[in-house]
Symmetry: C2
Subunit: 145 residues, 2 copies
DNA sequence: TCAATTACTTACGTTTCTATAACTATTATA
DNA sequence: TATAATAGTTATAGAAACGTAAGTAATTGA
């Protein structure tokens, strides 16, 4: 029996446990409740709040078609959460930027999403440190979501 | 400085790392692609494939209103993925059961969702064991998702 | 037994998500 | 400069996700 097989088996268990912990839909529900809009809309606002970007880049990050993003951003702009600005480098493209209001909404969402479950906080500090070390090692440099 | 504060800070980091790892939208996308239906529909099939249950219980698990579940299950029934059966205990309620076809679809989805990312599999066995131990400790007895 | 409750469905309307085709404006290139 | 490629928008249209009100059938319990 190879060590790779051992890894795989344990990794599957770990993955299952992690997924169960993270994929708690109450969290999504809470976010839509607090922000007063869909999770997808909130996701866009959060992205833009971190950094202004072109429509195309944002569409790619959110994994949606450009025409659909146009509609979404129209909506967010009407709500006063983002604005489109001219891109000085390329007049074809538009830069999407979060307004102060948009950033507030993004912060509210992040606050909910970043709050770890009680059960995680309740672990021993040593265990948490170990978790952090291992997960940091397992994490891609680019991050996701 | 209390130990609780230390825990909280590290826990937040751990949580962030875990969330990034789990919330990879490519996975969702792949599931809808393979199953040929929305993630929500697939979620329902997966639930029922594990265990037959009443409409109400399923609606609660999926976090949706009963009328909406009725529509969803109608759709899945037309697709031949589930069937409604009489509940011998209570003739008001219906038991939703996955068909063989439904179970196949559920298996396909699970196969994608249960596959841990390469970066996790690549960790040392000792680290994986530690992760498992910690996460098992942090997991609720009831599970979620 | 009969009123209240429960489990589910029907009917309806709104929002959100999704994809595609055709269009304008701008930039890059041959 | 003419042509192609790019960035975004408009226009459609269908599927999916939500919520509420009102209805049926079965059960509970006073």
């Amino acid at each position: 029996m190879s060590s790779a097989d051992d890894n795989s088996a344990v990794a599957r268990e770990v993955w299952q446990l992690m997924s169960d912990l993270v994929l708690d839909n109450q969290r999504r529900r809470k976010v839509t409740e607090v922000t007063g809009m869909s999770f997808g809309r909130t996701r866009a606002v959060r992205r833009v709040a971190k950094r202004s970007m072109q429509m195309g880049e944002l569409a790619d990050l959110l994994g949606m078609e450009r025409p659909n993003l146009t509609t979404l951003i129209n909506d967010l702009e009407e709500k006063g959460l983002v604005i489109r600005k001219a891109d000085p480098r390329d007049r074809r493209s538009r830069l999407v930027e979060a307004t102060a209001k948009g950033k507030r909404v993004a912060r509210k969402a992040e606050a909910i999403l970043k709050e770890p479950p009680d059960r995680l906080v309740g672990l021993d500090v040593e265990d948490l440190e170990t978790l952090r070390r291992c997960l940091a090692e397992a994490s891609a440099p680019g991050g996701s979501e």
